[in-house]
Symmetry: C2
């Protein structure tokens, strides 16, 4: 369905304006689908994001500051996200020997198991959700990268 129909707006003042609206609308749409999927595992999309970052690095731990840099939403409060994941025994905190200010975060075996359960569901979500062939998905990613490339 076109963005015009979805939000019942007939005209936009420019292709850029339509794109702005469409981008935010589509991302919200996607985020709600994800939220529904992760809820069964008692995870928020942000908590899932942290776990994915930790799995990508495991068995090497990741500093809180580095998690922040890699988050999709850079303003996330990673300390508190890690608190939530700790309560569920999905991650561990370790002090960093070389810099006592820093804290190393490591995904646990249980954390890896949860991700393993979720993996096929996210793949399935993406493949059934997106009415695009992989070439179109690549093209869309390419245009999003280009969109952001102007500013620093």
């Amino acid at each position: 369905m076109s963005i015009e129909t979805d939000i019942k707006q007939r005209t936009f003042r420019s292709p850029y304006h339509r794109l702005t609206v469409n981008l935010i609308y589509t991302a919200n749409w996607l985020l709600h689908k994800q939220t529904g999927l992760f809820r069964a595992f008692d995870l928020s999309p942000q908590q899932y994001n942290v776990l994915r970052i930790l799995r990508g690095s495991a068995p090497v731990p990741v500093k809180v500051s580095e998690i922040t840099e890699r988050m999709l939403d850079k303003t996330s409060n990673v300390s508190r996200l890690v608190d939530k994941l700790l309560e569920k025994n999905l991650v561990e905190r370790k002090s960093c020997p070389s810099d006592r200010r820093a804290v190393h975060i490591l995904i646990t075996g249980k954390g890896l198991e949860v991700l393993k359960e979720i993996d096929p569901l996210t793949s399935e979500l993406e493949s059934t959700l997106y009415n695009l062939d992989s070439g179109e998905a690549d093209e869309l990613s390419r245009l999003l990268d280009k969109l952001r490339s102007a500013s620093t």
Copy 2:
């Protein structure tokens, strides 16, 4: 900059996965730019969204339920957003004669003035922010529409 560099992730399991991450990352990036712009006017992106909807309909008022349908984020709590806008005298509430459950919301003169101040800034933001020509913006919008068109 490519999404791989932005979030320091070298590989994705599929073009669809890269797209998922890229979409959410790009929308957050955009939303933070918008938040910065609207802050000078003491508005959140959501409050701005409501005002835009009301201007598009003025002088015909819009029911709360209809605002919800047109919002970019459909789970927004429009009652409370309208409360905030009322406090700032940017909108008025009117009871609906034909359905006493419904509430009509109308943008005020002050609301229209604020939008008029913001208009050139959002246009400028979009044109300087997006490293795309208008054809590419159209193509991106088209692909986003297509992406969402599978599910109901």
